[in-house]
């Protein structure tokens, strides 16, 4: 087990470095930040001086090595746009995104699994049908559209909630709900089908023959077995959810990482992009590892050699 974890962590480091290298090269090849930071009619000397000042005149492999060396001492360079340490710029925005994503994720998980259970329990009934229909609806409505409609309804028309921003508890409601809806639907559907699948299995038939009540079967037996695919899926949903923050944050003007990353890509703020990608890639890879390990906890039959 320990060997397995170490191996996975080793792979994780290689993957993160690979992603970083890709981003490092791609951002530098796709456009020159000096042209964005200097006046349009900047002289060639001014451009050369800018590149030299920020170490951008070196060959890309040399720049990458310098970046790696800095990374060892947590020195990720200075944001070209904000003229502050890139790490500081990212860390200022990180909490907002983590809060939002976690809140949305926990909501999606709790509500999704519960509704999935209800749907499975009353399979074929009106509750099941309406839950399934709304899942399809939620998954097919783009979340930017939901966000805009929510703002119009709850902020502009009814004035119950603030339109946007991150200021007070009420401001979390719309962004978290919007972000939650897609994973919620996915988790709900997965829970329902996983439970139904378990309920059809031989051991459940046996339990029924023994006279165990349907509710007890669901709670004590079916749910636990059904949780394995649900956990796997939820882990992936948390990853997708991070992607969803970009649009949600933009529309709700949420001062998080998603909106910062978009701006940084547009303005070719290499150091900020690098730290951001490093953080996000590390997070996703660790998330996948955590999901795999969770399997062992939930299902003792699974052992990694």
């Amino acid at each position: 087990m320990t060997n397995y974890i170490l191996k996975r962590l080793g792979l994780a480091v290689i993957t993160v470095l690979g992603v970083l290298l890709l981003i490092f090269v791609a951002t530098r090849m796709s456009g020159d930040v000096a042209l964005l930071m200097l006046p349009q009619d900047a002289s060639d000397e001014q451009i050369a001086a800018y590149r030299a000042r920020h170490g951008l005149d070196r060959a890309i492999p040399v720049q990458f090595l310098n970046f790696m060396r800095g990374m060892l001492t947590l020195d990720f360079g200075e944001s070209l746009r904000y003229q502050r340490p890139a790490l500081e710029v990212i860390l200022q925005r990180l909490p907002a995104t983590v809060e939002l994503a976690l809140m949305a994720f926990v909501l999606a998980l709790v509500v999704g699994v519960s509704l999935g259970l209800v749907a499975a329990y009353y399979r074929g009934g009106w509750a099941d049908r309406s839950i399934r229909t709304s899942a399809v609806l939620l998954q097919s409505m783009p979340n930017f559209w939901i966000a805009i409609m929510a703002i119009l309804l709850f902020a502009v028309m009814l004035r119950w909630l603030p339109t946007s921003g991150r200021d007070g508890a009420a401001s979390y409601i719309m962004p978290a709900m919007t972000l939650m809806l897609f994973p919620l639907a996915a988790i709900m559907r997965m829970t329902r089908s996983a439970i139904l699948e378990t309920i059809e299995s031989e051991y459940v038939k046996f339990l029924r023959i023994k006279g165990v009540s349907e509710g007890r079967i669901l709670w004590r037996h079916a749910l636990r077995n059904a949780l394995i695919p649900v956990i796997a899926l939820s882990g992936l949903q948390l990853g997708n959810l991070m992607g969803g923050t970009v649009i949600t944050e933009t529309i709700f003007n949420w001062p998080g990482l998603g909106s910062l990353m978009i701006e940084s890509f547009i303005s070719r703020d290499y150091p900020v992009i690098q730290v951001g990608v490093l953080l996000i890639a590390t997070f996703l890879i660790l998330l996948n590892l955590a999901v795999d390990l969770l399997f062992c906890v939930v299902d003792p039959r699974i052992r990694y050699a």
Binding site: S30, G31, D32, V33, L35, L36, M37, L38, P39, Q40, D41, A42, S43, D44, Q46, Y50, R81, Y82, Q83, V89, Q92, R93, A96, F144, W145, I148, M149, I151, L152, L153, A155, V156, M157, R159, P162, T163, S164, G165, R166, D167, T250, I251, F252, N253, P255, G256, S259, L260, E263, I266, S267, R268
Partner: protein
């Protein structure tokens, strides 16, 4: 994002009962404005994005000079004299001006600010190219010495004044974190990605403005800014997409318009004899082919205006020059004369650096060009790629470039600025080059007298029109929307900022 703006528009029309301005809370004691652009830094002397930073920071930091709405140079802090040969400007700082830190404004501060901007603000450094030295004459007097007269220096970009004494006392980090200036508003707090909070500086040397406490909220998404206004969370919004203007007006919001940089235009590279648009007849045909008024009325709610060159009231404006009329028959004739009766292949580069209305305009314009048989192939480049492309083709006799972009042209603080940036061969940012134009521009740069300069500029713009160097499609107009009880009268020409001192209440 424009798609989103459209959805917002459609949605809001459905719920149009919502859009009334009755509940809004905009008071002098607590006035919020939503703007798109967040400053890259709080220090005007280290910004690399002056236009974006000025939107907010002009409230804190004043310039040594600025341009008033009538086009005249003005200053809130100093008086000046220009020597007859134009090589010397002497500024005399007025009495009783203090920074928010309590330090008095002195000549040393001007020198310090100048040095800081030279070092940190590339835009200023580029504009100050004719400047030899800045010297402190006495405590209140500063002398700027030029090696050649430069008509563009003062109108182009202002020198933002910061305090040397404050810097010496608190050091770089605090100086950047807590800016002080001589402006009508003091810094209170800043939350990155969210807002800047300001309060009125009661020792301000000019007239005290009405707004006492203000919050500038940074909201990139236009639809969200509109929602904030409609929900009464802010009293004013800057940068309203044109298609939303009629609805806001109908809902009772007040609108204010400010003509400003840039001009959305078709731009040509003209040094390559192997491409059809080397021939001026082809360029003119393209100018006649596009129905700009239709584009403006149909896609942009009729808000922006078309001018042939610079706008009325600007130096170099010639009322006898009018935009090329929409005339597809004339366009076909010209194409046939030039030897392309069946059109040609045209790779068209579109500025994808984000500019409301540009993409729709470019798409519509390319449809008009296709009507002529020109086989347009649109390619959208993001800001970094686009700027790189223009630099690459500038001066290259084999360059291939026609673009639709946001260009400096009309509504600059001084037209000479646009010419120096994008139309003289001295600039590496000039795809269209012409020796005669270079001469006019050089001549105009040395003429400090506005009337004399205006005459030369007339010739320069006349030539550009005659040569169809660029085909202006429309000029940007900054749109501000506000509660019906708010009055906003911009005092700076062509510069879309939110000067809180320009806000008053009924």
């Amino acid at each position: 994002m424009t798609a989103m703006a459209k959805v917002v528009t459609a949605g809001a029309l459905l719920l149009s009962a919502s859009g009334n301005a009755l509940f809004a809370q905009a008071t002098p004691d607590n006035f919020s404005v939503a703007v798109a652009e967040e400053p890259d830094t709080l220090d005007m002397t280290s910004t690399a994005h002056a236009p974006g930073a000025r939107v907010s920071l002009e409230n804190i930091t004043e310039g040594l000079w600025s341009t008033a709405t009538d086009g005249a140079l003005t200053s809130t802090v100093a008086d000046w004299e220009i020597s007859d040969d134009g090589l010397e400007i002497v500024f005399r700082i007025r009495d009783g001006i203090t920074f928010h830190s309590g330090d008095p404004l002195t000549a040393e501060d001007v020198l310090f600010s100048h040095n800081r901007m030279l070092e940190n603000a590339p835009q200023y450094a580029r504009r100050a190219r004719a400047l030899d030295a800045v010297d402190v004459v006495d405590e209140r007097t500063v002398r700027f010495t030029f090696h050649t007269p430069d008509a563009g220096m003062m109108p182009s970009r202002s020198l933002s004044i910061v305090s040397k004494a404050y810097f010496d006392r608190v050091g770089e980090t605090q100086f950047m974190r807590h800016p002080v200036g001589t402006g009508p508003y003091e810094f209170v707090s800043y939350t990155p990605g969210t807002q800047l909070v300001l309060k009125r500086y009661d020792n301000y040397h000019g007239d005290l403005p009405q707004v006492e406490h203000a919050t500038l909220r940074y909201v990139r998404e236009a639809g969200t800014r509109l929602a904030q206004l409609q929900a009464g969370e802010v009293g004013m919004v800057m940068d309203i997409p044109y298609p939303d203007v009629p609805r806001l007006e109908a809902d009772g919001f007040r609108m204010e318009y400010l003509a400003a940089h840039p001009t959305i235009a078709i731009q040509f590279h003209n040094l390559n004899p192997d491409v059809p648009w080397y021939d001026v007849r082809v360029r003119k045909a393209m100018a006649h082919a596009v129905d700009r008024q239709s584009i403006i009325d149909g896609l942009l709610a009729g808000v922006p205006e078309v001018t042939a060159t610079v706008a009325e009231g600007e130096l170099g404006h010639d009322p006898t020059i009018t935009p090329y009329a929409y005339d597809p028959d004339r366009a076909r004739e010209l194409l046939a004369e030039a030897g392309y009766p069946d059109g040609f292949d045209l790779p068209l580069d579109i500025w994808g650096g984000g500019f409301a209305g540009l993409r729709e305009t470019a798409e519509a314009a390319s449809l008009y060009l296709r009507e002529l048989g020109i086989n347009v192939e649109v390619q959208t480049l993001d800001a970094a790629q686009f700027l790189g492309k223009i630099r690459n083709v500038s001066g290259d006799p084999e360059g291939v470039y026609v673009g639709i972009s946001a260009l400096p042209y009309a509504n600059q603080s001084d037209p000479i600025e646009a010419l120096n940036v994008a139309y003289t061969s001295r600039s590496p940012f000039t795809p269209f080059r012409d020796d005669r134009l270079d001469q006019y521009i050089d001549e105009a740069n040395a003429l400090l007298d506005p009337d004399a300069r205006g005459e030369v500029l007339k010739k320069a713009f006349g030539l550009m029109h005659e040569e169809a160097a660029v085909i202006p499609l429309w000029n940007f107009v900054a749109v501000y929307a506000m509660d019906s009880g708010v009055r906003f009268t911009p005092t700076e020409k062509f510069f879309p900022v939110v000067m809180l001192k320009d806000v008053s209440f009924e």
